[in-house]
């Protein structure tokens, strides 16, 4: 009897909690609510940390200058735990519980792909900062904007340089999931177009602790390795590759270095080439806009956070910054007032051109209307004596490829 009462009591308390908890969404309607899916814990925690700081800096700047159309911007941050399922759930929570109007970020392609259908279902524009080509391809939709470089752009851009300056015979080593496959496929395509050859493609599961068995399969004929992995996998990869093939040349996307100090990586990483949409060190792109941008987000010339000495993942941080200001421009252009005006914002974003400025420190570019992808230039950096140096710049026209989808025809 008593047990039943307790059980009932508990059910009651739960119901009460739900009703009261839910009331938090009846907050003031005035500000423009922006949600952020930050990868604060889990494998991508380094990205989440700096992305959050950058977005907060951007919103602070906007609010200080009078907001958007006179309305302040309010930020809601949720942690994705670097897991796609959690990310998708948090996307819902941001929109449904906090009532955010736009969602920015997650550096994980998996999370971005998982959230894309949710963005469409909840009719909320979404600006992931992840690189998988599918986001601006078949996995995306009219609500999703990839305002950073995608894998295909990176591979296409770097292929000519790779064949001419690094090597002709390549092996690819990628993590075994969508982003890795994208890299494998695109690199092979463009390296072959440029007269090179991929002699072996190796896929490695995420979080593998012993890389030797995989790397042992790299044929002797391979002169260079193109790799797509990050975090722990990257560390194991370069260490074991250095032990087993110290002579081989290496090329990868720069975000593999996420928060790592190239100096500490030692001889294993020496000479490593990276594809970077944005140079980590100010020296690579020393413009007044960049100096101001770095100042606002609190980062020094070397890419370290002022005060803590933490390493920002600058190569991708600009995408968050740029997404916020592109959004601001689109809201201002379309005169967005509430959720029902969302299609107007999307139309304003499609085909939007922007000029190099403090708002767009990476450089001028445009958002391609057909696939919602930002078309920008790239850099190739190399670790020389433990320091990242820009080796070459690849202009946007060498990066661009023809779009595979046409979002403008999709209904809202």
């Amino acid at each position: 009897m008593r047990g039943k009462l307790v059980g009932k009591g508990m059910v009651f308390v739960v119901l009460l909690l739900m009703i009261f908890g839910a009331n938090t969404e009846l907050a003031a309607k005035e500000p423009i609510k922006v949600g952020m899916l930050a990868d604060k814990t889990g494998g991508l925690a380094a990205y989440g940390y700096s992305h959050e700081k950058v977005l907060r800096a951007a919103i602070q700047k906007i609010n200080k200058e009078g907001g958007i159309l006179g309305r302040p911007v309010k930020l809601y941050v949720e942690d994705t735990e670097s897991k796609p399922s959690v990310g998708a759930m948090k996307f819902r929570k941001l929109v449904e519980t906090y009532g955010v109007d736009f969602v920015i970020d997650s550096n994980s392609s998996g999370i971005a792909i998982a959230c894309a259908p949710v963005a469409k279902e909840l009719k909320t524009p979404y600006f992931p900062c992840a690189g998988a080509t599918e986001i601006s391809g078949e996995k995306g939709n009219r609500y999703v904007f990839q305002l950073c470089t995608c894998v295909r752009e990176e591979c296409k851009g770097v292929a000519k340089f790779a064949v001419n300056n690094i090597g002709k015979k390549w092996a690819t080593v990628v993590v075994n999931y969508a982003w890795g496959w994208s890299n494998e496929k695109e690199f092979k395509k463009y390296i072959t177009e440029n007269g090179g050859e991929v002699v072996k493609s190796i896929r490695v599961p995420l979080g593998t602790s012993d890389w030797l068995p995989y790397l042992r399969k790299i044929p002797k004929s391979a002169e260079a390795v193109f790799f797509a992995n990050f975090g722990s996998d990257f560390l194991s990869f370069i260490r074991d590759l250095h032990a087993i093939r110290p002579d081989i040349k290496k090329l990868g996307a720069v975000y593999v270095l996420s928060g790592q100090d190239p100096k500490k990586l030692g001889p294993a990483a020496e000479g490593l080439y990276c594809i970077a949409p944005y140079p980590t060190r100010l020296e690579g792109l020393n413009t007044p806009y960049n100096r101001a941008y770095r100042k606002l987000i609190g980062v020094d010339e070397e890419g370290l956070e002022i005060g803590t000495g933490k390493r920002f993942v600058l190569a991708y941080d600009w995408a968050v910054w740029q997404a916020m200001f592109a959004l601001k421009a689109a809201i201002e252009k379309s005169g967005w007032k509430s959720r029902k005006d969302t299609p107007k914002v999307i139309k304003a974003l499609e085909g939007m051109r922007y000029e190099e400025s403090l708002e767009f420190p990476q450089g001028s570019g445009y958002i391609r209307a057909e696939d919602h992808l930002a078309i920008v230039g790239l850099y190739v950096e190399q670790i020389v004596k433990g320091v990242l140096k820009v080796v070459t710049k690849i202009p946007a026209q060498e990066v661009v490829y023809s779009p595979t989808v046409d979002r403008t025809k999709e209904p809202f």
């Binding site: 739960v14 739900m18 796609p84 399922s85 929570k93």
Partner: protein, 313 residues
């Protein structure tokens, strides 16, 4: 008395769907899907004392069993959920066949290995599962003759999952109240004696494992439907440990207790995770604390002080 309470609960669940704000409703959908999982796990741990760490296999299988037919063969939602359910049954049968005859310690390890291997394979077989990135799906409308129900309607998913929750509860409650349920409790209380009363204990443990695994798969399927998404992460050990937390928080061997556990833990997770990133550490501490107070969980503790956990004739 008890019937009246159940009736009240059903009514309030039905009404809640209409009055809850959207965010809370989505949370409620998740809780309802997890409640099926928690009850199913209770059949395994609470009723037959089989401490499985392999239930993520069924959860993940249920999710993919439901998502893949919709994605590749354009099946309807209901047939897909049913396929997920069946897949859970098959996997529970195969893994149960190997594991129920093992002793306690072996059972725990071997089920944990199942979970780990399936996770590994799911992460690796990206062509099938999408790996960690997972697979998203567009849910077709559910047709009942001329009536078409879209799960994209804000209330659609809520009532869809609620229907399964009620059906699942009814099914499990019936099983628990049938002779079969009595045999389960007998096995929990004294396995050897049950054998000497003429029951093939292994068979009944397998049946319990099957029921548990199958309903876990149903929960996985519904969760995937509510997310419109499945990921290889559903196979990870986390999904094997979390039902233990639910059952311990709510109370083992009570069916309704684990649901309360789900509600408490989900609310906790929902509200605390926003401001404290490392909230999961609480789960571990909770396991240790509750075990110290009562091995039957909190509700089990309260009931146990009166008479005992579980149910009576």
């Amino acid at each position: 008395m008890k019937r009246g309470f159940t009736f009240l609960l059903v009514i309030s669940l039905l009404v809640l769907g209409l009055i809850l704000p959207r965010g809370a409703r989505s949370l409620m959908v998740q809780m309802m899907a997890f409640s099926i999982f928690a009850m199913a796990y209770d059949i395994s741990l609470g009723f037959t004392n089989q401490c499985s760490l392999g239930h993520s296999v069924f959860f993940g299988a249920g999710a993919y069993g439901t998502i893949l037919p919709m994605l590749h063969w354009h099946f309807g939602v209901l047939p897909s959920v049913f396929i997920g359910f069946l897949l859970g049954l098959v996997l529970a049968f195969l893994t149960g066949l190997i594991s129920v005859r093992l002793s306690e310690a072996y059972f725990v390890i071997v089920t944990a290995i199942f979970s780990a291997i399936f996770h590994l394979l799911a992460m690796d077989m990206t062509w099938l599962t999408g790996g960690d990135d997972g697979l998203s799906v567009t849910l077709p409308k559910i047709g009942f003759g001329p009536l078409k129900l879209s799960l994209y309607h804000p209330l659609g998913t809520y009532y869809f999952v609620l229907a399964f929750l009620l059906a699942g509860y009814l099914a499990l409650r019936t099983i628990v109240g049938s002779p079969l349920g009595m045999i389960f409790v007998a096995i929990r209380e004294n396995e050897k004696r049950t054998a000497f009363l003429g029951y093939n204990v292994r068979t009944y443990k397998l049946i319990a494992f099957l029921i548990s695994g199958t309903f876990t798969a149903l929960s996985g399927g519904l969760y995937a439907v509510s997310l419109r998404y499945a990921t290889a992460d559903f196979f990870s050990l986390y999904w094997s440990i979390i039902p233990i937390v639910w059952c311990l928080v709510g109370g083992l061997g009570t069916l309704i207790g684990p649901c309360i556990g789900v509600a408490l833990m989900s609310l906790f997770q929902y509200y605390v995770s926003a401001w404290w990133t490392y909230y999961l550490v609480i789960f571990g501490v909770l396991i240790l604390l509750i075990l110290r107070v009562s091995r039957r969980g909190i509700l089990g503790y309260f009931i146990g002080r009166g008479a005992r956990g579980g149910w009576r004739l």
